[in-house]
Symmetry: C2
Subunit: 587 residues, 2 copies
């Protein structure tokens, strides 16, 4: 099936995830004390690709990149904010959802990756609530269709204007022969717990549901006449900005996740913050085969279809105090590495579809990395330390969810300790070199497990620490890892503890790694995507894992079916006035 590749607009050649409010084309961010307002007012002509207009507040990835950026900035640059209002800047429409012409023209790989990133953005909105106590209120004054309603579903509270026309809907199945692609079905069943037969009615009713019935069926939290809208918004903002209001939709995480207990006492809270941290632009040097950040380097071996990401440890010891940390701003090592790594991963995901495997390496002093972990542990009650940990948690989840084979290579001079060791545990496989290399007088490679690897602070989407997931079948392995916290482990010790997959001699190293990477690149990318999506997430399921595993997989399947994307499929024929033609066999 030849796929017409859409061309990026304005002659650009790659999708850039770096932005800031001064460059937003689709959102307006306003801050008023504890309340931030994000107004969606999509620039029709501001599409990321050529060939479509973003009518009726419909979106593409470009709109989502700004939304994700806005939430990051609210958390770091406006730590006093407790409530985000999501509103539309257009009359009679909240959002028409993902742009259909964009979807119809996008390659399968872009569609899939677009859905994944937009899902992560919605999860980040929920993470702001669960982790930072930043509640989102969505105001629907008009129609919220498909992805528009799915965005609303990420909020803690949905207000729908009861005016006889404002409505919520998921018309994907009746209209487009696809599924709601950004978590809608799962949030209906597992977050809002709508009764399944009502959900069935709702999701097959093109025009959606409005007014009191929407509230009665729990599709929204309340309705209000237009005349009272602003008063209701103000009242809810005040309530949710108070310390005492828990989210009505607490994150359905497994018990271990330590990050979902936002502060509720003054003094621990975000309002104690005196320093905001401006997220200054990341300095990046982009060349055809490299991306160089300060602490992160990305090198593409295009012939081998392998990308190597090298993370560098800190170049100075941790600050002496929370004030000093805040004074470092975005240059504070743990924050800067996290931001750089996030940008690098997104770049590979969206712009480098041919990459089969990502190899993670590190350079630095493992004890120095652990020192930063200890510092963040000590400052755990400080809003910035907490935000940085939450940022790492999101970035690591993004790695878990990256559909490329992930390999960690642990060699002399590396610094996989604590937070950076999570990358070893996130990898599909890890290889660690035994001893020294000829002509290299650096000490043998060592890893150091830290408390952060066990505490659940950096829990995976399944709600468990990566080491907990790793040792689901051998709890004693988890206990042994716990006893090794803070210890320098050489390759054989790490292998014996089950913390790395294979410890190899220098004699075998090059051949083994080369053969493994060649083999990986020789396999079907699709079967690897499916394999990794299944093997990475043993154990409990959460709303997030349901979204990314169950829902995403069905969506991927349906996107590929001729009933949706074939020439006579519903997505292709949408807006042409011609009815789609379906193969009626049920599979």
């Amino acid at each position: 099936m030849a796929e017409a590749e859409q061309k990026l607009a304005n002659g650009t050649v790659r999708i850039d995830f770096a932005t800031d409010p001064s460059r937003y084309r689709h959102w307006k961010l306003g801050i008023d004390g504890k309340v931030a307002t994000l107004v969606l007012d999509v620039d029709e002509k501001g599409g990321l690709f050529e060939g479509y207009d973003l009518k009726l507040n419909s979106y593409d990835l470009g709109v989502d990149i700004e939304l994700a950026d806005a939430f990051e900035r609210i958390r770091f640059e406006h730590p006093e904010v407790r409530v985000v209002l999501l509103r539309s800047g257009k009359p009679r429409v909240f959002s028409a959802g993902a742009n259909i012409r964009m979807l119809a023209g996008a390659s399968h790989a872009h569609k899939v990756n677009f859905c994944k990133v937009t899902n992560e953005t919605r999860n980040a909105i929920e993470d702001a609530s669960a982790g930072s106590g930043v509640r989102t209120i969505c105001v629907i004054n008009g129609t919220a269709a498909g992805g528009g309603y799915e965005l609303a579903l990420a909020a803690d509270h949905i207000i729908l204007v009861d005016d006889g026309s404002s409505s919520v809907s998921l018309p994907e199945v009746p209209l487009l022969a696809v599924l709601p692609g950004t978590g809608g079905l799962t949030r209906i069943t597992d977050k809002r717990k709508v009764r399944r037969d009502r959900a069935d009615f709702f999701c097959t009713t093109e025009e959606g549901i409005k007014g009191k019935r929407a509230a009665e069926w729990r599709l929204v939290d309340e309705t209000t006449p237009h005349s009272r809208l602003e008063a209701v918004i103000a009242a809810r903002s005040r309530e949710f900005a108070g310390d005492a209001v828990p989210s009505p939709y607490p994150a359905p995480q497994a018990g271990e996740d330590k990050s979902t207990h936002p502060p509720t006492h003054a003094g621990e809270g975000r309002e104690g913050a005196v320093h905001a941290v401006p997220l200054t632009p990341l300095e990046r040097k982009l060349t055809p085969d490299r991306r160089d950040y300060k602490y992160v380097s990305v090198a593409f071996d295009r012939a081998a279809r392998v990308t190597t990401i090298t993370l560098r440890g800190p170049d100075s010891p941790p600050p002496a105090s929370a004030e000093e940390m805040a004074g470092c701003g975005a240059a504070f090592w743990p924050l800067q590495v996290a931001r750089e790594l996030d940008d690098a991963i997104l770049d590979i995901r969206l712009n480098e579809l041919d990459v089969a495997a990502i190899v993670f390496k590190s350079e630095g002093e493992p004890r120095a990395v652990l020192d930063y972990d200890l510092f963040l542990d000590q400052q755990a009650r400080h809003w910035l330390a907490r935000e940085i940990r939450l940022k790492w948690k999101r970035v690591l989840k993004r790695i878990d969810l990256t559909s490329r084979s992930l390999v960690a290579l642990i060699e002399p001079g590396s610094c996989f300790a604590g937070t950076l060791a999570e990358i070893v545990f996130a990898a599909d496989r890890s290889y660690m070199l035994i001893g020294q290399r000829d002509g290299d007088n650096r000490l043998p490679a060592m890893i150091i497990p830290g408390d952060v690897n066990l505490s659940g602070t950096l829990a995976m989407s399944n709600g468990l620490a990566r080491l907990r997931t790793r040792f689901l079948g051998e709890p004693e392995g988890y206990e042994k890892a716990r006893q090794a916290v803070g210890q320098l482990l050489d390759a054989e010790a790490a292998e014996a503890l089950g913390l790395v997959t294979f410890a190899l001699d220098d004699i075998d190293w090059n051949d083994e790694i080369r053969l493994f990477l060649e083999e990986r690149a020789s396999f079907s990318p699709d079967s690897l995507t499916g394999l990794e999506a299944n093997l990475r997430f043993g154990g409990p399921e959460t709303m997030e894992t349901k979204i990314f595993a169950r829902l995403t997989a069905w969506q991927n399947w349906i996107f590929q079916r001729s009933n949706a994307t074939g020439e006579a499929g519903a997505l292709s024929r949408y807006g042409t006035g011609r009815k789609p033609e379906f193969d009626t066999k049920r599979a």
Copy 2:
């Protein structure tokens, strides 16, 4: 994408699920006291379709139909059996898994439905262990590849001969560019809890793993030299036949499931059974547009793509005693309806791919149905009563997992009470008629909730009673339903309690139902499959829901990708000597 439809062998026009040991071509069932032995010795020329030979104990749906039948018969006809030994009748091979030429030639819909049924059969093996205390021991003396190893994974205990060549493997990704399709990945991560990096290695290593490493990695439970094999089998059989040995792999169900507590005390147990119940052939009258069983009728409206299944209530009161029940044998109403319904559902799934919606109706006296439920409750400690409930549980799960829109119509003269009411709660939607119809003097339709609807005895794959799942968002709804147990509820009462979707007047009935069914048939079958798979299973996930949602969805996607099933895909090119060609983009 035109799919070459395989032709059924021997001039048959439909796949028949009815069989018995005298007709088995691929399995030999032997019983020796508490130990049953099932020997897999596939007849190469006994394929269900034309065009392939079932070499090396590879299988197609025909092989699976016999396996499923054998386990049903062990449970009903040999209640004294406590251990099933799965063995190969061929030298040097246990099973090569699903036949690749069959897969390469099958339509997408058949592949998907084949995987689903084989998954259900493996789940039924685990259900025999969890529900009836029938432990399965799998003996691998040779190679167990792909689906062959996946069959072994359904066992409670796997013995691998350590002879330098016997091995287990999941070579699907490296060899065929598809995923193991019958639960293998999930059983590795969630049943056997193999460490994820080892699982990655295992699933990408074509030749698999043998000997001690297989045991060390928990891929098998023990290894033995060939010389000791029979002694080890005898010892394990004795152990597992004892009352005291729990399954090493208890079903990871949510807490509510009441059926997974097999008897462990003499007197309650299967050994107390005096009557075996022969599963006599179901009498069926098959005509082009109907299937008529004694208590179940199936009518196809092919133009509308709607099938109506009508269930008839009991024609006599329940027996007076357990002995009398056993004396009824397979003619005992609850058992016969369950078997007929199961056969009807499988027939639609595999032979009637064009059916968009299944409409469930019933005829009879609701109190009479409830009387049978009460009888089974009273006899809950009797092995046959328990087996019948477990059979119903499996049949109802089969309905949940049927990828057709499910509708229950509750009209005057219907008998949706207790066990039969589960079908209403399994449906995507239900409609109930208010009052009487002109010219029909039957009483208005009534439903009666029973204890069986709330107890978890008939739990869904997610481990919850259907009513518990239904009311996840409103626990008070569940409590109200509990209070209504045993009460006759008319349409308005049932709607008010949230037990049916819509209560309709006679004036609206015909139009509403017709429009709904027409609309349903007009939607893309694929998007409905995905929608229903997501909406039907809110709440907790279990190994079963993971298999059917996550794994199945990925497998469906991959089956559809050109890298697997395109002309140059790995499945199509397998055995041709030509290498597959892959689109290398990762999605």
